[in-house]
Point group: C2
């Protein structure tokens, strides 16, 4: 790893297109100036083709343990969930910290420069808290060690299903009640902010696990009491069974339930959003929520193909996540975002290449609250066109446009061509890591 | 590249499972003996984890030119086809030979040890023949140079659509009539067989392009006059529009039309088979045909998800192809074969891992006529379980089970985990190529 004060790139993605001979001047890890059509200067870090770093807006780091271990005997999402609970049982702050450092390093090498960790393995298996946020700080320190930006989405998880207590294996996820979760959330944020080494790369966001795991009254408390600018994530309608249980219990869809209790807002990120009604799509779009699609997970778990283009057209912003980490490859994730829609809609070009770059970078940064400022409507800023921008952190990825795989492609179309193996370097907060030096 | 006389593998896939400490004795590029649970001997080529080489049962090498160049402005299969025709116009034997050597090398490095090239760019743009099979021998020599096994599926392509002449851009594909094609096919086979350097790696198979491009009476001629043991490939029902045109013209589906004219047979390989009726599925299964699924292409072109498990259950044998080469990665192809079905059927484990290995190797070898012998029913041999076998060519791939991506996975589940980047060496006819030495 080496700190970059100034860099020269042969080409860089800026405002939705590639521009040649770009110099970036970097101050405190932030892009202070961007100069185009200009030769390298002495002292510049020399880069090839660079793009904004990919943002992994939905991760459960420990699911990496299940990769290549759950395909032996069929089953469905719910069978897989039991296997996943087994893995969660075994975690300790020490083992999870070591595992997370590996997983975050795999992500960074694959081109993810930021990750939103949807974290709910808070406590000991008995449900008793660890001292001093041990599990959360283990994740924070793993991200710092791996050199990846982390948004720790600390998750409210209070019950085992509609009207059900937490099961024995879910007990370590829960805080007892919503106020206890909020109290712990504020204390955690304070602990991260108090440490300069951590706060340089780590911020704290929030999540409600799902309408299964948080009751309507508690959703309303979160909607009222969590600061409105804090990114708030939720698993939404990944499985048809969730919708059915919600309709049975409350007479409305999970999306409508979130709306009813004040959670639809620009800082909300709905994860999956696979099985939606037209009304759900309209609600999410009107609220200017982010939608985190996790295409490799949604295929792996047989969830289905969500209405991504409809959500975008309605006003939502798309992002991607690797979720259960069957695959950690932002480019495969983005390609699937487009290609699964082609399978669903039987035509090509559902998204433009620029929209795909956007979903992989700016969309995820918006979903994780990583860009300051608001747009003309007072909503969290997310530039329409993807690219490096002055004032953004210098989080970037170098891609090789001349590998056996990428050779001959229009660089703008690389989201449909390249894969993680074509990533040659990553830059996080102005710190460069070359892959061959890893 | 180096010739292997004997090899020791830390683990090898045999009869559908991984076995440790395997020695393979090789004679004339064929596995003469397999010894398990035995240490390496002096002189053995030392290998890690090996599996049968992947077989790419459907390729149009020149489509590689379009990778990353057709995603700019939407469209559908038919718009893409016009772009593809443009690329086909520019080919010469020299340029196509050089291109094909690159593409075949990309395939071999990705883990494909054999390729079925569905070849129809036979003649000059005027339609006049080149002297001495120039285009076909350019492809054969490209395969020899790249060190990949080639089945040249020389293709009968006689008209531009139901009741239509060849268009100006299709003229170089055609031989005028079916008898002229058959005559050229026999001459080509003779020319390949006459050359020891070529026949070591290259065989000649056949194809009828589609029910669009070959009229029913000509299909019947091919069915009667082509030797029944020659692998015969056909594009089948990739697009709904093909089915509609066929139903309009002949009152039956493309599959039924092939059946009616005597083409359904064990040596037939139907490519895509995306939009089928239940009756089509039954016909293909009863005939013991092979089905070549091309998942990355079928996604890229918005074709749809074909009924792969139903075809297998009906009696067909599955294989894979990279077709238009938007992706050249046998492991991504196999993973998609399973994962797209999960999206379609909303559950996991549509195929077992062993079935996926089989589709990637033995199924493709059967579709290309690469295994001698017949099974108990007198049908072309295709072992039920995937793995290395005595008497098969020593075509194999070494995979690294301890990369950032593959670490921790059950080796048997690698089809759902690994990617081409995890291939460390390929062996074709007993000749080893290490990737880092390439």
């Amino acid at each position: 790893m080496s700190a970059v004060a100034s860099a020269h790139a042969a080409a860089a993605l800026i405002d939705g297109r590639f521009v040649g001979d770009v110099r970036a001047l970097v101050r405190d890890g932030v892009i202070a100036e961007l100069l185009t059509g200009t030769p390298a200067q002495p002292g510049d870090t020399r880069l090839g083709l660079i793009v904004p770093g990919f943002v992994n807006a939905h991760s459960h780091a420990f699911h990496r343990l299940l990769r290549g271990r759950t395909h032996g005997d069929g089953g469905d999402f719910w069978v897989w969930r039991e296997q996943m609970y087994g893995a969660a049982q075994a975690l300790t702050p020490e083992s999870y910290g070591a595992l997370a450092e590996h997983v975050f390093t795999e992500m960074r090498d694959a081109g993810y420069t930021a990750v939103g960790e949807f974290h709910y393995v808070h406590h000991q298996t008995s449900g008793a808290p660890y001292a001093g946020h041990a599990m959360e700080l283990a994740l924070a320190d793993a991200a710092v060690a791996a050199g990846i930006r982390l948004v720790l989405l600390d998750t409210c998880y209070l019950r085992g299903g509609v009207g059900q207590e937490l099961s024995e294996r879910q007990r370590r996820f829960g805080d007892g009640d919503v106020h206890a979760w909020l109290e712990r959330w504020h204390a955690l944020r304070g602990a991260i902010m108090a440490d300069p080494g951590r706060r340089a790369l780590v911020t704290v966001g929030a999540a409600v696990h799902s309408v299964r795991a948080v009751a309507p009254a508690d959703l309303a408390v979160v909607g009222r009491e969590l600061p409105a600018d804090v990114p708030l994530h939720v698993h939404l309608s990944e499985q048809a069974a969730e919708n059915e249980a919600c309709l049975d219990a409350y007479g409305m869809t999970p999306t409508a339930l979130l709306a009813e209790h004040g959670l639809l807002r620009p800082s909300l990120a709905a994860v999956h959003a696979t099985h939606l009604t037209d009304h759900d799509i309209a609600l999410l779009g009107q609220s200017r929520a982010s939608i985190v699609m996790c295409p490799t997970t949604e295929a792996d778990l047989g969830d289905g193909i969500g209405p991504a283009p409809e959500l975008r057209a309605a006003g939502a912003t798309l992002a991607i996540g690797s979720d259960q980490h069957a695959v950690i490859d932002p480019l495969e994730e983005i390609a699937r975002l487009e290609l699964d829609q082609r399978l669903r809609m039987r035509r090509r070009g559902i998204f433009t290449p620029a929209q795909l770059w956007h979903a992989g970078s700016a969309g995820g940064a918006r979903a994780l609250g990583l860009r300051s400022g608001v747009d003309a409507q007072g909503l969290p800023a997310a530039p329409t066109e993807p690219g490096l921008r002055v004032g953004d952190p210098f989080d970037a990825v170098e891609l090789d446009p001349d590998t056996a795989r990428t050779r001959g492609a229009d660089p703008l179309q690389l989201p449909l061509v390249a894969r993680a193996g074509d990533v040659t370097a990553t830059i996080v907060a102005g710190t460069l890591t070359r892959k061959d030096a890893a």
